[in-house]
Symmetry: C2
Subunit: 406 residues, 2 copies
């Protein structure tokens, strides 16, 4: 069983926006048991939409079309599907009533433009929109389903979950829904994960490496539950302590849960990451339960004045040194009383490097209730890349130390 | 003149990666003077590539194909274009030589697999790859150009700039290259910018709103230089002080330049933004020239201990108040000696709000050499959204105050 995704909008073809609807819809097709074969963006023109529908329906039993359902003259997805399926547009009284009520709440008077949104191809199944005025619909044409959905991401997602997935499950009772799992790893490069799982990747076409969060390598497993569950077990085993979580998990979220479980507080002292570590930690809702605060000490004087790093240490070993990282984390814990402290000092670049302290050299200092440690890292990346890798390495280390003392 | 973009790869059709090559290539086509009409992703299969090439070449004089040029059996873009254009693949000795030299440097022995990358359709113009082994090529088929380019973004971009753009300029001497400008604004919603520029947007089809950086609204103007330059002037005038810069500009970069020009230093004291303000400031290379450091004080006690906010202020007015923001910024400047100080305190949510201090309420405190001010804001957004809007609002305010005392 195959599927296709078509997104409609001039702005998509002209590079004005990054199309995030397509990957979302492709993943949903996979979960439903349809193999996506084509993904295309076309302009808001009836002819262009009809042409791509010709190609898509040649390949796919189910084609999801997103966008072009608004009230303006530019929104022609309804007309295009009507023409493609030879199903004339008809006014749907229920939808029109609903749109008028919606406009009344906003104090607006309905116009013929608004009424455009209440016309649907003859025989279509309608999908009400709870968040906007663009209703979706499904049409069957020569054994192929074409489904039109709104382009606004949150409306699209709500309609998929609430209407479209149950609709397709019902229409295709013979298809086994697939299990989709995402296993996340940190600390290995893409090529290393590839080498580690080479045989599994070849055997299981439903398994693939996802490139999303910089520095992390995610594996997506998609297939019948009976295949995916043992495969996930094997992947986790091979990834070892590099495996850290599944779809909704993040390093910062896991660190937060571990701290809460152990009733520990956290504080940070950052130089080259410039606040990114604290920012990442505080992206977690409820992080105020364990995060006390942090310092960003971007100069020697700030390291000395705010964290009490001795000037002698800074002069003798420089700011980017094991000794400074240690003094930073010790000063941090003394000033905040935190149970766990993390310090970062290094060279994010692109300038400021030297043969002794090259760009990418970073020292991470940790203070746990059972002691202090400082680790040296050499990251090869851009400025933002070095910051990101330093932050994730620090969080991953705390995660591992707190979870099993690995 | 029209163009099309085709990206090739199973991972693109299955939602495993976000396709950033397509928007890039679409923008380059526009700059070259080709109107993009179709953008599609297909699987690594000869038949699928040929089918989409059929549709693309029907519409477009120039089709850019990215991906599928690697050495493995999965990489079939060469075969597909060869079949589509009826141009048999031939070994190119120069390319093969070059690939072997590259392998020798890495200590690898050439295999027949590697040789696949030295085969090109008969009559093709080749584009050497300076960063990898996948050379690109161009084939003319029935008055249409099909260009194959690598899928690795940095290789693709280098080849576009270095080889493809000059190649197409030479082949299409009659087309006027377009001027492409991006004007960035902050402080207005998309709908407000739309209303402000409605007539211009209707008159100029080459003008569009870009949705990229959250909270900012960018306008892209594309057209002949004689049209774009006066249009850009008019857009800037209408946007007023909400206009802040062009393509390469960022709020944090502009603030950095203004500080350097005025020989001022900067420090931050953050509560609800949790380090994001310092992180954003330190994303700018060379920010250590003016950024001293900052505090992240996530608890009342930290605000008191690290910044000297009186406990009485915190108890009487709570942490999310004008008074606390002011005490934070004053304590910050006292402790760091910075010329400019920014403080942030508010409720990022999703929990922690109350009728008096709802989620999204944020106080921003500023300390300039000429005085202190505190402003109240109410942001309606997710947790990350509130953090981002607070950070950008603070940077934009400093930018405006330092630039013209607006």
């Amino acid at each position: 069983m195959t599927g296709a995704v078509v997104t409609v909008g001039d702005e998509l073809v002209q590079g004005l926006i990054l199309d995030t609807n397509s990957p979302y819809l492709e993943e949903k097709l996979l979960e439903l048991g349809f193999q996506p074969r084509l993904s295309a963006s076309v302009m808001d023109r009836v002819e262009e939409i009809c042409q791509i529908l010709g190609l898509a329906t040649m390949k796919a039993r189910v084609t999801l079309v997103s966008g072009g359902l608004g009230p303006t003259e530019d929104d022609v997805t309804r007309e295009a599907i009507s023409r493609f399926c030879h199903a004339p547009l008809e006014l749907h009284e229920g939808a029109w009533q609903w749109i008028q009520e919606r406009l009344a709440i906003k104090g607006l008077t309905p116009t013929p433009q608004h009424q455009r949104q209440a016309y649907f191809p003859q025989g279509a199944t309608l999908f009400p929109n709870r968040m906007g005025s663009a209703w979706g619909f499904a049409v069957n044409h020569q054994e192929r389903w074409i489904l039109a959905l709104p382009g606004v991401p949150r409306e699209l997602r709500a309609m998929m979950e609430g209407e479209v997935i149950p609709f397709l499950r019902e229409r295709f009772p013979g298809i086994t829904p697939m299990t989709l799992r995402v296993l996340k790893s940190f600390g290995l490069k893409e090529s290393q994960v590839n080498a580690l799982l080479k045989d599994l990747l070849q055997e299981h076409p439903g398994m693939g490496l996802m490139v999303r969060d910089y520095g992390e390598v995610h594996l997506r497993l998609c297939g019948p539950p009976g295949e995916v569950e043992p495969l996930a077990g094997e992947v986790r085993k091979r990834l070892g302590h590099h495996f850290f979580g599944e779809r909704e998990d993040s390093l910062e979220g896991l660190v937060g849960s571990l701290l809460k479980d152990r009733d520990l507080t956290l504080a940070t002292a950052e130089s080259c990451t410039g606040g990114m570590l604290a920012h990442t930690i505080t992206n977690v809702p409820g992080s105020s339960d364990y995060f006390l605060g942090g310092f960003v000490t971007y100069t020697d004087q700030m390291k000395h004045r705010l964290l009490g790093v001795p000037m002698e240490t800074l002069e003798r070993h420089t700011a980017v040194s094991r000794e400074t990282a240690q003094a930073m984390v010790e000063g941090l814990v003394k000033r905040t009383g935190a149970g766990v402290g993390i310090s970062v000092t290094g060279i994010a670049g692109p300038t400021g490097g030297s043969p002794e302290t090259p760009v990418g050299l970073v020292y991470l200092g940790y203070r746990f209730p059972w002691g202090t440690e400082v680790l040296e890292h050499r990251f090869q990346a851009s400025r933002i890349g070095v910051k990101t890798l330093a932050v994730k390495t620090a969080l991953d280390h705390v995660r591992r130390r707190l979870s099993r003392g690995e």
